[in-house]
Structure formats: C-alpha cells, structure tokens
Amino acid sequence: MKKTLSLGFLAAVLAVGTAVAGKMRNEDPHWLMNDNSIVTGTANYIKTFYCAGANNIQCAVQIEDPFVVIRKS
C-alpha cells in the first residue's frame, strides 16, 4: 500500500512541478495584429482575447515565426 501511495504521490508531485515550471518558463511570443499593434501572449490568449470568432480571416501573425497565424471571423 505504501509503495502504491508513493508511486501515485510521485506522479502528483511531478505533475504539479511540471505545470508550474511550464508556466514559469513560458516566454510569451509577440504578435503583429491587423491594426499594426504588437501584443504579447500565448497563441491561446491572443485567440481568446483578441481574435475570438470563427477561423476565417487572419487576425494576428507571430513576429518570431511569421508562419504562425491566428484567424478570426
């Protein structure tokens, strides 16, 4: 039982560590918006806060990697 508990707990501790480390390490990319402004944030953040809507029209281009494009209606 102890071994089982320790394996599960190890997984739980690793999961928390990985999630927190991932959050801390993430250096957010920069995005060029349609109105030529530059915004910083994850692709998910930009899609949610700046480019909500159906995926039809280009909304933002990642400056570090211009092939990454976010679209909206």
């Binding site: 599960g8 999961a15 806060f49 159906a54």
Partner: protein, 142 residues
Amino acid sequence: MLTKRLTDILCALLVFLFIYTSVSKLLEYHTFRRQLGQSPFITLYAPFIAWALPAGEIIIAGLLLIPRTRLTGFYLSFFLLCLFTFYLAAMLQLSYFIPCSCGGVLQSLSWQAHIVFNIVFIILSALGVLLQIRQQSATASI
C-alpha cells in the same frame, strides 16, 4: 503481482494527467474562464465549470491515490474522459468557432490529436477498472 503493478502504473499516469491539467487550468484561470465563456455549448455554465472542472479533476486524482477508493476513481476517470471526448467531437462537428480550453501543453495539440489522446486515456481507464476489479476479487477470495 503483475496486475497490481499494472494498476499502479495506470493510476500514476491518470493522476499525472489530472493533476497536471487541473493545475495548468488554475494557473491560467482567467484565460480558461474566458475560453469556456466563448464555447458555444457551455457559455451559460462557464463560471461554474471554470472552477468545478479543475476541482473535479483533483478529486478524481485523490480518489485514485487512495487504494480503497481507486475503483471509483477509475470509473470517474473513464466517465470524465468520455465526456471530454464527446464534447470535442461535438465541437468539431457542430461549431465553426473552436476555442481550446485545454490545460498546459495539451493546448498545442490539434483537435484531432486531442481526440486520439483522450481515446488512449479512455482505454487506459477502462483497463484500470478491469484490472482493479480483478485485483479486488482476487484479494477477496484469499
């Protein structure tokens, strides 16, 4: 012995998945809540789901950690993962706008890859249920 070891490994995998995704969601709570609010099926329930989902995932991980409640944990994992997969499939079929409300690195998966990922974990949960029942009946017969 092999059954027990396999169950432990399955349990650890599911615990890792649920804790990782729930902590990731909680660390980016505001983005997560906003994404849920934009989702066409659950807009009305977004404020409730935004905290209930990570809390539910943590509770399931807790149930999996305790040997006495592990079977319930496997059943709930199976149910929750099936629910996620149906939601993803419905989003892909019925909605043009698809916000990703996944936790951590999972948000970089495509929706199709996400469904495959979920199906793999559904199979692991089902396997966990079967192995746990087998293990419990073996223990009871001793």
